[in-house]
Amino acid sequence: MTFKATLLAGAVALAPVAAAADDDLTIGFSQIGSESGWRAAETTVTKQQAEARGIDLKFADAQQKQENQIKALRGFIAQGVDGILLAPVVATGWDDVLEEAQEAEIPVILMDRTVDADPSLYLTAVTSDLVHEGKVAGEWLVSEMDGKDCRIVELQGTTGSSPAIDRKTGFEQGIAGHGNLEIVRSQTGDFTRAQGKVVMESFLKAEGPGNICALYAHNDDMAVGAIQAIKEAGLAPGKDIVIVAIDAVPDAHLAIANGEMNATIELTPDMAGPALDALQAYLQDGTEPAKWIQTESRLYTASDDNMAVYEQKKSLGY
């Protein structure tokens, strides 16, 4: 009881401050952690976006734990923030805290991942479409091969993870109906460089170096590892074996600029841009955004200025 009273007192005490400076929005951002370079870049971009809009961003790193995120959300509610950005670590168990936010009339926007909760409990979800990313990769390879026969090897993400399942499904959709393209080997590289290299070595042995025409990797890190394996086998990555992957991390841009990789599809770290656009519009005049905002899955090939993108992305903390 006393705890709730304290929370309430805190909220009341903070409320006038928030009301007084109505131009200065205060937004809480509960981030999963920094388990990958992409995640670190998402945090950096979110902070940049908030700063550019003059928003006071309260950042909470949950270190991959849902209880930390729930605590952070309760903290934001007690502080009476104007909105909450949430990158949920898991899909379930959010109903209670989202209801609390709703009762406090604080809109919550989901970033990068969605939750298993009633959609009325959050304002909108900003995510990429993983299946679409795979499909873009597949379609690019179809047009690149232009009817030529092509034996493809696939480096999957962590077995059973949703990006691995969806990016595989999408790629298969992308190449469906093109009999000249065939996935001959598919194995997990756990989304890491080291495993990507090890598994590519085994592909090269098992298939014979000259019998692989293209590599599709579920993320860039595995592709970067595979590039080293291809080089050590005496082949030219990007020429002897066409390489397409997903994420568009800086090192992939560098590899494309060096001619060692052919294409990558961007998983943009800028989820905060669309999220804050939607939130500001909602707070200003109550515009309800769509329940799902899909970010763009942009294709980068050798025709883009990859060196410039590399320089620009390098500082984001990938």
Partner: protein, 345 residues
């Protein structure tokens, strides 16, 4: 002494299992044993097993010594990440590969001494003491790399992981040399005997005048150094330090290698050669899974079944049955004489 005869006998189960797993590789990939000289380096399935098994093998050397003292070192995976991160950081700051290797080894030594002090001087149980660094170590590595994959282009450092010496991949040369060196050091001096004494009965060894504290600290120090070397190799292999994934769960592979090597987790007699064979068996299993082209959903199941089969075959009860089977079939007299000798040892 029975020394001329006993090493092969000691290693027989591991050699038979290794041969069986290699035969499995041959079954799924007929060209497995073909070795070509390509691009200035040996190229083939067996070379891959030797090369990819290097980190586990190097960890297993240190882990064998730790386990022989009735201890365990759970922190080696995290120490790998720290050492890789330090090496990458040092070359990124413009120093040479020698400095980077020395710095990484120093970091590994510091981690090893930390574990040793916790175990030997503060008397914390090894599994708990090394758990501290297992959990915290990855965080330290992330602090060093600032959360990114720290890439480098230093040729000397890369050579340690991806280069060759006379056509043989450098990691293979490193682990064979290190294994031979440490085996020589513990078997040609009293060191091995002292380590075994601590593992069998710490109190008695202390009363016999063995300085258990210093020796225990040294054993964890060696484990830390081995982990650091493995960490540098893994980082050099991908030309980057990946603090999140480098050495992840490797401590379990290292312990498994020691166990497959027939060493008891209760300490005492140990064989580094058997642990190294254990590491090769694990890598051969991995290689067979990758070459088989099975869907990745089956990877862990296949690995679990194979490892389970290996451990069951090695279990004392099965060994006893085999002994009875052989004793009842053949001439039991000379065998009995040997048993007496072994007990006497």
């Amino acid at each position: 002494m029975a020394a001329s005869h006993s090493p092969l006998r000691r290693l027989a189960p591991q050699l038979v299992i290794l041969a069986a797993v290699l035969a499995l590789n041959l079954a799924v990939f007929p060209d497995f044993f073909r070795i070509e000289f390509q691009n200035g380096r040996l190229f083939g399935g067996v070379v891959d097993v030797l090369n990819r098994g290097a980190p586990t093998a190097i960890l297993a050397i240190g882990m064998t010594l730790v386990i022989a003292t009735k201890g365990i070192d759970l922190s080696v995976g995290a120490v790998m990440a720290i050492a890789g991160a330090c090496a990458a950081k040092i070359v990124a700051d413009g120093h040479g590969w020698g400095t980077a290797l020395a710095g990484a080894l120093a970091a590994g030594a510091a981690c090893g001494i930390w574990n040793g002090v916790l175990v030997a001087w503060l008397r914390i149980q090894p599994i708990v003491a090394t758990l501290v660094l297992m959990v915290a170590g990855r965080g330290i590595a992330q602090l060093v790399t600032e959360g990114t994959i720290l890439t480098f282009l230093n040729e000397g450092l890369i050579h340690l992981g991806a280069g060759t010496i006379l056509g043989i991949p450098t990691p293979v040369v490193i682990w064979i040399a290190l294994g031979a060196g440490v085996t020589w050091a513990v078997r040609k001096t009293a060191l091995g005997l002292l380590i075994e004494a601590i593992g069998i009965n710490a109190a008695a060894s202390r009363l016999a005048g063995i300085n258990a504290r210093v020796l225990l600290t040294c054993v964890y120090l060696v484990s830390g150094l081995c982990a650091a070397l493995a960490g540098v190799i893994v980082a050099a292999d991908i030309k980057g330090a990946d603090a999140n994934n480098a050495g992840l769960w490797m401590e379990l592979d290292a312990i498994l290698a020691v166990v497959i090597g027939g060493n008891s987790l209760l300490g005492g007699r140990f064989s580094i050669t058997a642990s190294l064979l254990g590491a090769l068996i694990i890598q051969s299993v991995n290689s067979a899974i990758l070459l088989s082209g099975m869907p990745p959903e089956f990877n862990l199941v296949i690995k679990a079944v194979l490892i389970l089969a290996i451990l069951v075959i090695q279990s004392p009860r099965i060994g006893h049955w085999l002994y009875i089977l052989r004793a009842s079939g053949g001439d039991p007299a000379p065998r009995r004489a040997k048993t007496v000798k072994e007990t006497a040892r």
